[in-house]
Symmetry: C2
Subunit: 196 residues, 2 copies
């Protein structure tokens, strides 16, 4: 999708494989990125775009500590809501992590993105021999355009996957993909690639 | 996945784009294929593998007319259960067309397959510049192997996507893919391609 591409301030909660790979794309595109981790001392959240690159289980703590600061901001959910001990989904059927988050952050502009991309594909910007594509869902067109612009400026294609309700399908794609990888049917640098 | 590859008798309900494309792969692999359509006069279902390449809404009629003959057979659900007037899913959240079908055909060996492949990709055996992959889910390993063998013999890669419960995710993948195509974000010869 097309997007605005002014320089953007981004705050990423988490600095794991996903948070680092996303930061790499955004800084390549000229965005300024700060990370907040569990060792951070409740700093101000300076980014206009805030990416929650943490496990789904960490959402409630982040909301309790930072929720008021997230009002008005673009908040990007990248999670796949799994109980990793049973490898089962932990949101109600028909809902999604993103829908649950939006319910808890009604003053924020919640987007779903990056959850269908394994970290290695974001780090390399490729999946197999092809460029990687980031799918973004959300109900706020301006917010989607801002995120898309920042990602596209970093050299990664973004496709608008529709309203936030589509997060349900994006999480299903990722859940299937993770099951395939765990079963060694595909590798963690592979997955489901968007072909136009 | 590996599969048995003896010559197979296959009955395909339906002769539309999907039924024809699947028939092409199977006959390329040496299987014998017969089609049953709405103009057929309730013939015997001769195939050991029976592929329901019809809209989900046609299942009840097929079950009423042919259900007894499907006992013991491998029955392949390729559907995506949509109300095309509203483009919304018509199975309960958490369920799937395949799970509903398996509930109505308890004596059959129900598999989910082909539903994540647009017809054009099966007809050409390619998606973009890559070979197409068929994902198969089911609880009967012998049945999955039989279908995989017949498809692989036709030159198309098959990956075991896990138990029939994964049909929920396979249907979500397809629903997302169809939404992307309807929104003209991708074409009907594209989609989500499996990258190993």
């Amino acid at each position: 999708m097309e997007g605005s591409s002014d320089m953007t301030d981004v705050t990423i909660f988490g600095a794991g494989n996903m948070g680092s790979a996303i930061a790499g794309i955004l800084t390549d595109g000229g965005s300024t990125v700060e990370h907040i981790t569990t060792s951070s001392k409740d700093p101000a959240v300076s980014g206009d775009i805030v990416i929650l690159a943490v496990p789904y289980a960490a959402f409630n703590d982040i909301i309790a500590r930072y929720g008021a600061q997230l009002a008005g901001k673009i908040v990007v959910d990248i999670t796949n809501p799994l109980d990793f001990s049973t490898f089962s989904l932990i949101v109600p059927p028909g809902s999604s992590a993103a829908a649950e988050l939006a319910g808890k952050l009604p003053a924020s502009r919640v987007l779903k993105a990056f959850n269908t991309n394994f970290a290695a594909t974001l780090a390399s910007k490729t999946i197999g021999s092809q460029p990687v594509t980031v799918l973004v869902a959300g109900d706020d067109a301006v917010a989607k355009s801002a995120l898309a612009g920042a990602v596209a400026a970093g050299g990664v294609t973004v496709i608008d996957a529709g309203p936030l309700a589509r997060a349900r399908e994006l999480e299903a794609v990722a859940y299937l993909q993770m099951n395939l990888a765990v079963a060694e049917k595909i590798g963690w640098a592979g997955g489901l690639s968007v072909v136009k």
